[in-house]
């Protein structure tokens, strides 16, 4: 058996956060120094309803191992109704990914308010843990995109 240290799996995780609640929640997690792994990279969108399923599939195609979308809690959307549409879209998309055999834990939606820094941090920790346990995304990645 090789004595070489096995390189730790460092997943690539994309988090779409709405500007008004979740991005602010992530800021709060930061200013409260509530850590989560550096594997998570946040993309700011105005609202969870801006997240096109195409963005999520594209992330996977380019080699992301997990994609999480965060938005305001239902009922609290800055644009009143955006997250309700996002909820339906993501439910259907996730169900479809599950249907074609993608491990269910690779996608997640979490509602995080601007006050929920703790929730943001715990959610990200959990999610990274989950992705680590699932391992590398091989079912959705386009191998030609691998560098």
């Amino acid at each position: 058996m090789s004595i070489e240290a096995k390189e730790e799996f460092r997943p690539k995780i994309v988090a779409f956060c709405c500007n008004w609640c979740s991005y602010a929640g992530a800021d709060l997690a930061g200013s409260s120094r509530l850590g989560y792994p550096a594997d998570v990279k946040i993309i700011r969108v105005p609202c969870s309803c801006r997240v096109n399923p195409m963005f999520i599939l594209r992330a996977f195609e380019k080699g992301a191992d997990g994609v999480i979308m965060c938005g305001c809690h239902p009922g609290d959307c800055h644009y009143s109704t955006g997250n309700y549409y996002a909820r339906r879209r993501m439910t259907l998309l996730f169900s479809m990914l599950d249907y074609i055999g993608v491990e269910n834990g690779r996608t997640r939606v979490e509602w995080v308010s601007a006050a929920e820094g703790v929730k943001f941090s715990t959610t990200m920790n959990e999610f990274v843990e989950k992705i680590r346990s699932l391992g590398k995304n091989v079912r959705l990645e386009d191998l030609r995109c691998r560098k």
Binding site: T81, T91, F94, D98, Y99, G101
Partner: protein, 324 residues
């Protein structure tokens, strides 16, 4: 068929319509193709038989732009697509004279071939007026018979009903040919392990040659320019490879028509590779029905589609994992 032709002649002659949208015989006995007829004489080529599966609703998008009315022949299930197109302002109701044509289930030549029938010369029993329960097929190797029901398209086994949802007049009788549950196959896949599901779709989708037939025939895929042909998402189509790309294409295609797809089954009918593409659309339909209540696109021209609607207590996306 003659009744439809006669009526078409009348409508053309009295100027009610400027053209007739129907089917004409193809080069083989089982591949009639959609066609316009602009004169009484040209109607000699008009056919309407069991192989006229093509849904003519989508042709009305272009026909709506033409001068004068178009008489369009729609089968009961085609009228759902037509309604959906009205809802999306893609066709002009006033430009269409809808003749609801009778339908007793449409035939799938592949189903006949799968029964070992080769070298087909002619087929009897496919005429719409025929009461025969069997098809009599003249082949190079002699006469074969096969039951009409066994030769039907998959979609006819899950027929939505014999009722035309929109029409100006109805010619001919229709029959409800439903004898199966349309979600059986979806449920069978859902019950598989992730590995099995992945293997199943990997196998099916790797057959895809990105010919776009599914997209071009689909009455819901009526975009002037498809996202897969535009630079808006850097998603313009690429060559066929055994990778994620086909899945991306088919998931997004199904997603774009989710809540709008009437389950007409044209995508699967025209796929040259025989990929059961309707399984994507049906999955969305099944989920929509389960999560948000039964919805049939094209039932009417008013109802809000499930993806442009919501309730305050919709299920959370986490349901997908919880359901197991």
């Amino acid at each position: 068929m003659q009744e439809v032709i006669n009526r078409a002649k009348e409508l053309l002659a009295d100027g009610t319509v400027a053209r007739v949208l129907g089917w004409k015989a193809g080069d083989l006995p089982y591949n009639p193709e959609p066609a316009y007829f602009e004169s009484v004489e040209s109607l000699e080529d008009f056919v309407y038989n069991g192989f006229c599966g093509a849904n003519l609703s989508k042709y009305m998008i272009e026909a709506s732009k033409l001068e004068g009315k178009t008489m369009v022949c729609l089968k009961p299930c085609d009228t759902y697509s037509f309604n959906q197109l009205i809802k999306e302002h893609r066709v002009d109701r006033d430009k269409a004279y809808i003749v609801g044509v009778g339908c007793k289930g449409k035939l799938d030549i592949e189903k006949i071939r799968k029964q070992g029938v080769k070298g087909i010369e002619s087929i009897k029993g496919a005429e719409i007026t025929d009461e025969a329960d069997n098809l009599t097929i003249q082949t190079l190797y002699g006469e074969k018979t096969c039951s009409y029901a066994d030769a039907m398209l998959e979609r006819c086994h899950v027929c939505k009903g014999k009722e035309h949802k929109i029409y100006d007049e109805i010619i001919g009788e229709s029959k409800d040919t439903k004898d199966a549950d349309r979600f059986t196959e979806v449920a069978r896949i859902e019950a598989m392990s992730p590995e099995e599901k992945f293997a199943f779709f990997q196998k099916e989708l790797s057959k895809c040659i990105r010919c776009n037939a599914c997209r071009n025939v689909c009455p819901a895929c009526s975009c002037r320019k498809c996202v897969f042909d535009s630079n808006k998402f850097d998603s313009a189509q690429k060559a066929n490879v055994d990778s994620f790309e086909e899945k991306m294409f088919h998931i997004i295609r199904a997603f774009h028509v989710a809540g709008r797809c009437t389950d007409c089954g044209e995508c699967s009918r025209v796929c040259p590779q025989g990929i059961p593409l309707h399984l994507f659309n049906r999955k969305f339909i099944k989920d929509i029905n389960e999560f948000y209540g039964d919805f049939q696109a094209g039932e009417d021209t008013e109802a809000r589609g499930p993806l442009t609607d919501f309730t305050f207590d919709d299920v959370e996306p986490g349901i997908v994992g919880e359901r197991g």
